[in-house]
């Protein structure tokens, strides 16, 4: 029942079919605007929370290594986007990230730490690139960037906090159900990105 409820809850978040990593033109460049950017697209939110969920499932050291890897590599991708470096299929990569990370949580997949870090890092490049191409030019770029990174980190932290239910049998089932929800959402985003 709980897995079904969790899946239903995750599905209830799914609104528009379009991939949501889009620019929000005209926003003021500030800490709060930067903090709001990563939570402006459900595809980003689900993938970043899934990184935390998966890290919690894998335990130490992945529980902190993955959330450390993601923001740094994402920022690198963001830098590429800001510099105008083309990355074909970024939207597809973002959708696949939600699909794969959700599936990893669902299957309780335990790859070697390096594989998990490389996988998360590769997905982070797509997320960062999408954000980087959208960041508005502004005079308060540093504050915007800080808000952006802190918000991303807090999404990971939220995923880790939720993922701590992994230590209880019912929690493990709920976590896997959440992974199924994220994977289904990723499939939904992927469908939207390729059609």
């Amino acid at each position: 029942m709980i897995p079904a409820l969790a899946s239903a809850s995750a599905f209830s978040w799914l609104g528009p079919l379009t991939v949501l990593a889009h620019a929000r033109g005209g926003e003021a460049a500030s800490f709060l605007a930067g903090a709001g950017h990563p939570v402006s697209g459900l595809d980003h939110v689900l993938a970043m929370v899934a990184v935390g969920l998966w890290g919690a499932q894998l335990g130490a050291p992945a529980v902190w290594l993955l959330p450390v890897t993601f923001p740094v590599v994402m920022a690198f991708g963001g830098m590429l986007g800001l510099l105008g470096v083309d990355l074909p299929g970024a939207e597809i990569g973002i959708a696949v990230s939600a699909l794969v990370l959700g599936a990893a949580v669902l299957a309780e997949w335990r790859p070697p730490l390096a594989v998990a870090a490389v996988l998360v890092g590769a997905f982070a490049v797509f997320h960062g690139h999408a954000h980087g191409t959208e960041l508005p030019a502004g005079a308060d770029g540093f504050a915007y960037s800080v808000g952006f990174v802190v918000s991303t980190g807090l999404l990971h932290a939220a995923g880790i906090a939720v993922g701590l239910v992994h230590r209880w049998p019912a929690g493990r089932a709920a976590l896997r159900a959440a992974g199924a929800g994220v994977a289904a959402a990723g499939a939904w985003f992927l469908w939207g990105a390729v059609t």
Partner: protein, 196 residues
Amino acid sequence: MRRPTLLLAALVLVATARDAHAHLVNTGFGPFYDGLAHPLVVVSDLLPALAVALLGGLRGPGTGRAVVIALPVAWLAGMALGAATALPPPPPASGAALTALLGVLVASDRPWPRAAVVGAAVVAGVALGLGNGRELGAVAGGRVALVGVACTVFVLASIVAGQVAVLRARAARIVVRVAGSWVAATGLLMLGWTLR
């Protein structure tokens, strides 16, 4: 001050800080106090200063103490050089790259030798001080403000490095490393922004 309160205070500082201005914040208390406020409201100065302090603290009390002295002295020297000479301020991209590099050093938490950490503090201090000296030295009361800037850098480094140097719990050190990764990520984004 308890560490969670300190972390919260640091976050509020960063959240309310602004980009570098070629003029002083007007506190209404005179140039010295304007200088005191300057590093706290200019995030491009605040972040690398925090990163250097975190780096020194992670390496223990001895290195932390050395950084507490080296950073403000180098900052003051850089400001004096910037104010007294016609040296152009470092390009914005160099500050962003420096921030990213310092963040990576914190996040990696490797056993860097003390000389390397102090060297990083000196480089950061001189580079950031040069910009401050060039900008603030030219305004009225700017020379007095520069002393205020150095005082704040000293206090900031003392508090942060001191708090981090006594951390023993692995989880607490991981929190510092995560903070370093956030600094690195911010620096990378800013690097792209300035080179855009």
